[in-house]
């Protein structure tokens, strides 16, 4: 099958001998669709099912496509080989607090750019966007030194602080606030509401979908963050899940794939669940900016 076979097809004539060819084409398209589903979902299925297999099943050849007697103890094995409960808690703290603070800072900043005057606002906005050009690898070493100077290495503050600046979130929220009807905020102002009140009582409720989008995308990013927690944590009790998984691999060796895979499942399941429920928001947030 080539790319050309799967092109959008302006409804062509479906008469006589053509219908056979058409049916063959549809069959081919469905075959391709299944192929894509298998390639995308297969490894995930393999991960989750293997995390539930007994070791003989994991190491058997030919492979067990469907695990028979589920071995939930792989999870407790991972749990006892490394403090996964603690990793989980750390990831939760870092992503929830980090997202909350970042979101509030972004909301305030976006609101200011839309509803308040300031000399040189345009230049400031460009300055804000400019931060997007700075790759994470450039900030790595200096941020580590800053955090070390503050005495925050191996602490929640150290894990959270460098990720708090928001360009993407501020930008999206500002774009959204620009579309809100000015009359409503003016009316609130005439009613004597201050700006904080307008932001939280008027603008925020009207921006709920965008706020959810930004919050989810920011949270997923923090949950998956790898290089910064790797650098800034030095003891097991401060590791986040992805870093804990890395260390589990290095200590467990590959004799115990069951536990390692169970660890990987623990890292992905929260995001996977979130994604399946809120994919509309997450996809919209992550693909923002692609439109033309």
């Amino acid at each position: 099958m080539t790319v050309a076979d799967s092109l959008p097809d302006a409804r062509t004539v479906t008469a006589g001998s053509r219908s056979g060819a058409r049916r063959a084409k549809r069959f081919g398209l469905y075959a391709l669709l299944v192929l894509v589903a298998v390639i995308a979902g297969g490894p995930l299925y393999w991960l989750i099912s293997s995390a539930l297999k007994t070791n003989p099943q994991i190491y058997s050849y030919p492979p067990h496509w469907i695990p028979t007697d589920l071995r939930w103890s792989n999870f407790s094995d991972a749990w006892s080989a490394a403090p996964f409960g603690r990793f989980f808690l750390n990831s939760l703290i870092v992503s929830v607090i980090g997202t909350t603070v970042e979101l509030i800072a972004a909301l305030l900043c976006a609101y200011a750019f839309v509803f308040l005057p300031f000399p040189g606002k345009k230049v400031l906005f460009l300055f804000l966007l400019g931060a997007m050009m700075v790759p994470g690898h450039v900030t790595l070493l200096p941020n580590f030194l800053t955090i070390a100077q503050l005495g925050w290495v191996n602490s929640y503050a150290g894990l959270i602080a460098p990720g708090l600046g928001s360009v993407f979130g501020t930008f999206l929220l500002r774009q959204h606030m620009l579309t809100l009807p000015q009359e409503i905020t003016d009316a609130a102002k005439i009613d004597g509401a201050g700006h904080l009140r307008i932001l939280f009582r008027v603008v925020l409720p009207m921006s709920r979908p965008m706020v959810i989008t930004v919050a989810l995308v920011v949270m997923v990013g923090k949950w998956n963050d790898f290089i910064w927690p790797l650098i800034v944590t030095s003891s097991a009790d401060m590791r986040t899940l992805p870093i804990g998984l890395l260390f589990l691999q290095n200590t467990e060796t590959f004799a115990n794939w069951g536990a390692i895979l169970a660890g990987a499942v623990m890292v992905i399941v929260p995001v996977l669940v979130m994604f399946f429920f809120a994919q509309r928001y997450i996809i919209a947030g992550l693909t923002q900016g692609a439109g033309k």
């Binding site: 050309a4 669709l33 305030l108 790759p135 450039v138 102002k189 790898f226």
Partner: protein
């Protein structure tokens, strides 16, 4: 806004909101208060960005001119020595070359596969939304977990790769421990992880295309291939360019899967620039060389972004 009423400089007409504080001085006071409020609202975000995004660039540029070893309390300014020594170092040059192969493999492969997937998902097929969700899911998953998963898939003895290659009469290669294969293995993993993103962006682009163009083309007897080459690809070129730039930038910075799967090895076979920087800084503790290589990455990415800006400008004039 109420202040707009007085743009001509005359006193404001009575207004319920500002009753009792009309007059130019009151307005100036109001304005000042709004400036202050702007500053207060924007300050937290700007503070974080200044401390953790802008200052690091300056600090990093400075460190790249020193010979600091991250342990001693003193260091020397050595000018551009780090840069000259980097370009003289076969490991660094090799790392640049590996980065090019890695980025080109992932970006070109991802764009092709993503476009093909998007064209497929743009058909009226039952279940396509499920497949779209499934294809996008890997993109949101932790690279550490994805790397772990694929180490298992690539395991030559009990990974998925063995039963998959067996019908072709091939023995499973030791993907990640063989320097001939490791880079290709990483490219495959990143393609699996990122192609759904490309597909979803292309799909949005396809669905934004005007339907009548296709119908006109079909009436003119244009075949599928001609329609793809002559109509769809040109119309999608802004999307392609957006993807080209964003994917290139993120691929340059790919790190987590590498840290889990290969640690830049075997040998230096998967030591792309992002790994090289980490290795110099946090494993060899050569702050100067790490910062200098980070500056080089920065400049390369700036050039790519600048190229995008210019291209897009020309595009706007062209239309």
């Amino acid at each position: 806004m109420t202040t707009d009423l007085t743009q001509d400089g005359r006193a404001a007409p009575p207004n319920p909101a500002t009753a009792g504080e009309a007059g130019p001085r009151a307005r100036a006071r109001r304005r000042r208060r709004e400036y202050l409020l702007f500053a207060a609202f924007a300050a937290p975000n700007f503070f974080f960005l200044l401390v953790f995004a802008y200052w690091p660039v300056i600090y990093n540029a400075y460190l790249s001119l020193t010979d600091w070893d991250m342990i001693s309390s003193s260091w020397h300014m050595i000018g551009l020595d780090n840069y000259t020594s980097l370009f003289a170092d076969p490991d660094f040059r090799g790392s640049l070359w590996t980065t090019v192969l890695f980025v080109v493999g992932i970006v070109a492969g991802g764009l092709l596969l993503g476009l093909a997937t998007a064209l497929l998902l743009n058909q009226r097929l039952r279940g396509r939304d499920v497949v779209r969700t499934l294809a996008f899911a890997p993109y949101v998953l932790s690279g550490a977990a994805v790397g772990t998963l694929w180490l298992f898939v690539f395991d030559p003895n009990y990974g998925l790769i063995r039963p998959l290659l067996a019908p072709l009469g091939m023995a499973a290669p030791a993907m990640m421990t063989d320097s001939k294969w490791a880079l290709s293995g990483l490219v495959l993993v990143y393609l699996w992880k990122n192609t759904g993103f490309v597909a979803v962006v292309y799909l949005a682009g396809l669905q934004g295309l005007p339907r009548d163009v296709f119908e006109a083309a079909a009436l003119d007897g244009a075949g599928a291939w001609t329609r793809l080459r002559r109509i769809i690809l040109p119309l999608l070129s802004p999307v392609t360019f957006f993807l080209l730039v964003t994917c290139t930038i993120t691929t340059f910075q790919a790190f987590d899967v590498i840290a889990v799967m290969t640690n830049g090895g075997p040998g230096t076979s998967t030591s792309i620039l992002s790994w090289f920087i980490y290795d110099q800084g946090f494993r060899t503790f050569d702050a100067g060389r790490a910062s200098a290589s980070a500056m080089i990455m920065f400049v390369v990415l700036l050039l790519i972004t600048g190229f995008q800006a210019r291209f897009l400008q020309r595009k706007v004039h062209y239309q």
